[in-house]
């Protein structure tokens, strides 16, 4: 999952990025409204954490500009301004959630997970695909009742695929959503990770669609 953090306080940006990376997100940062507008327009983010009081262009304008250009990624506003009129203005501009500073990091993470889930059309924090169960709140994977240990990259991959199960996900899309902006992207690495993931899961839920990419399907018990 790829996240964009827009915040002008350097310490808070560092904390948010570190925490999100620890949680398995590929994180990009923007410290002013102009940069944020650009990144949000060109990069395919799964979630955006947006501060409202930004230099150059304020957060609400950034959000309006994204929505005006048809960008639909879930946006969580993280701001010091907690008045209802300000919340209403934020949601009117197209926000999906609103968190007031000071905040607990756990709450932010929970809300981000919920936003990503909802955007992919899932209601429960536990996603199931046949025998594979992914608990997004604890980042644990269970196959046929047994817990499985995955590396960070493997979990990112599985998480993205299971969020978009029954849909074809291209290698490029996977690369874009799993690595951040500065990562040296190589689609062969994806193939290596998918191979390892298949081996660890032990069930055939990740299908290769020739020439297009991968698809995760629940009818994988057969293998």
């Amino acid at each position: 999952m790829r996240a964009l953090v827009v915040e002008d306080d350097p310490d808070l940006v560092r904390q948010l990025s570190e925490t999100l990376r620890d949680e398995g997100y590929a994180v990009d940062q923007a410290t002013d409204g102009e940069e944020a507008t650009y990144l949000g327009e060109v990069e395919p983010y799964d979630v955006v954490v947006l501060d409202l009081g930004l230099p150059v262009i304020d957060g609400v304008s950034v959000l309006k500009s994204w929505r005006g250009k048809g960008r639909t990624m879930p946006v969580l506003i993280l701001t010091a301004r907690g008045q209802w009129s300000e919340k209403v203005a934020g949601f009117d501009a197209g926000a999906d959630d609103y968190l007031t500073k000071p905040f607990q990091m756990e709450e932010l993470l929970a809300r981000i997970r919920a936003l990503i889930r909802r955007a992919a059309g899932h209601a429960s924090p536990v996603l199931r695909c046949g025998p594979v169960e992914v608990d997004t709140s604890s980042a644990t994977v269970v196959v046929n009742g047994e817990s499985i240990k995955l590396t960070g990259h493997e979990y990112k991959l599985l998480s993205y695929l299971i969020h978009h199960m029954n849909k074809i996900v291209s290698r490029t899309e996977l690369t874009e959503h799993i690595y951040d902006q500065d990562f040296d992207r190589d689609s062969n690495t994806i193939e290596v990770f998918v191979g390892r993931l298949r081996k660890k899961l032990g069930v055939d839920v990740i299908k290769t669609v020739r020439g297009l990419g991968y698809r995760m399907e629940p009818d994988g018990e057969a293998s």
Binding site: D9, D11, L12, W84, T100, Q104, A114, R118
Partner: protein, 456 residues
């Protein structure tokens, strides 16, 4: 009315009163003096006529001396002690007196000759004050001058002067009272703008008005203008101070977040004390933000907020916030209704109530608004567990959170009550038919609404 000696009214009336009294006394004294003189002169003229007729009636014979050729026309000369007397005093002969003098004589000072009529006051035979006119005449055949004198009591004159003075005192007194009355009326009328100013200031102080209204006379218009500027300046300072407090509180929130997040990942006594102090700071920031918010609420006069769009926006917002909970929000009524106040304040009050309801609701939140007289009554109900009767009052106290597990600062209901109070409204809690809590919020309706409704 008790007037302090320092009051303007007292000064003006006392000043005018003293001056009027002094002027009227001087005028009265002058008039009395002039009248006395006039009376005296006309009396002297009568005496002169009588003296003339006495002189004409007198004849001189070198043997017999002076004698009267005939009786005088004035009968009072014949009655004893009538008060009207004459006396002829030759330097060398027998003194002749009127019958009225009986056995007395007028005291004559013959040492100085009096060729012209000479008037003076003297004392009569029965010790009454008399007015005397005397003149020396030298008959053609005589050598020594003969002194003719006519005298009369002045009682009548005195009475006339007394009557006149009495009349004048009454007239001038009435005039004085009239003048003082006019001065009082004038002062009252003249100082009325000051009283208006005082009343307006009182209204500003009590918050009924935000400026001094109405036209003032040119003398105190500058004062009213300056006062208005002062009031505006004061309001500006206050607003700026509140903005600063708000900005400071908001600005502190990011550093607080950073410290909270960093300290959360550490163990040990330092991290623990940092967390405790951060919690104190967070509460303080919240507290002062709420205070700045409530202090700024209800300050702008003449604004109105259409209720329906505001409620719809809040519903959309809350549906997004509680998207994972599947709570349905129903909004009923509100079309064409307007709240007499600012949108921000309205959002803050109804937002908090609806947010509370969503937090506690199982599946349904219902918001109803209706107009009752000059008020709008909002009912915010949920189908959650509700609150026991005893605990209802407690949830209003600042910082009280009924359930610490449910997110929220716990300031929600108290700020709703504070803001509603500033608008002259209020909030009550009750049990809802849906099973949960029912919050009843009463707010003033905009006056325009009744006009609109009447026009329908």
């Amino acid at each position: 009315m008790v007037r302090r000696p320092s009051s303007l009214t007292f000064r003006l009336i006392a000043g005018a009163g003293l001056w009027t009294f002094f002027a009227l006394v001087v005028v009265g004294v002058a008039l009395a003096f002039l009248f006395r003189q006039t009376v005296e002169r006309s009396f002297d003229a009568r005496l002169d006529v009588l003296l003339e007729s006495l002189i004409v009636a007198a004849e001189y014979d070198p043997d017999k001396g002076v004698y009267l050729s005939g009786p005088l026309a004035e009968p009072r000369f014949e009655q004893p002690y009538s008060g009207w007397y004459w006396q002829i005093t030759p330097r060398d002969g027998q003194v002749m007196i009127s019958r009225s003098l009986w056995d007395r004589e007028l005291k004559e000072d013959l040492s100085a000759p009096e060729p012209q009529p000479h008037h003076y006051y003297s004392v009569g035979p029965d010790n009454q004050q008399i007015r005397v006119v005397e003149r020396d005449i030298i008959f053609p055949d005589s050598k020594a001058p003969v002194r003719f004198a006519v005298a009369a009591v002045t009682t009548e004159n005195k009475m006339e002067v007394t009557r006149f003075v009495g009349a004048i005192v009454v007239a001038l007194g009435l005039m004085g009272i009239g003048l003082i009355g006019a001065v009082i009326a004038q002062v009252r009328y003249g100082l009325r703008p000051l009283r208006t100013l005082e009343g307006q200031l009182e209204r500003v102080r009590s918050g009924e008005a935000d400026r001094l209204e109405g036209g003032y006379p040119s003398e105190i218009a500058p004062v009213a203008d300056e006062l208005n500027k002062l009031i505006d300046h004061n309001a500006e300072l206050l607003a700026r101070a509140r903005t600063h407090v708000g900005n400071l509180a908001h600005a502190l929130k990011t550093p607080l977040s950073v410290l909270m997040n960093d300290s959360a990942t550490h163990h040990g006594t330092l991290a623990a004390s940092v967390r405790r102090q951060l919690d104190v700071m967070r509460r303080l920031v919240d507290h002062y933000l709420v205070r700045a918010r409530t202090a700024a609420a209800g300050q702008v006069i003449g604004t109105r907020t259409p209720v329906l769009p505001a409620m719809t926006s809040l519903r959309t917002t809350l549906e997004k916030i509680y998207a994972s909970r599947d709570v349905r929000i129903f909004v009923q009524g509100g079309d064409r209704l307007n709240f007499r106040g600012e949108r921000q304040d309205f959002d803050e009050m109804l937002g908090n109530l609806m947010d509370n309801a969503c937090k506690w609701a199982d599946a349904e939140v219902r918001v109803t608004v209706e107009r009752r007289d000059t008020n709008l009554v909002f009912l915010v109900e949920d189908d959650g567990p509700g609150i026991d009767d005893e605990q209802r009052e407690a949830v209003f106290s600042r910082g009280q959170r009924f359930d610490e597990a449910t997110p929220g600062s716990g300031l929600g209901l108290s700020i709703v009550r504070d803001i509603a109070g500033l608008y002259g409204g209020g909030i009550e809690l009750d049990r809802s038919e849906l099973g949960g809590l029912k919050a009843v919020l009463t707010l003033p309706a905009s006056a325009d609404t009744s006009v609109q409704q009447a026009a329908q």
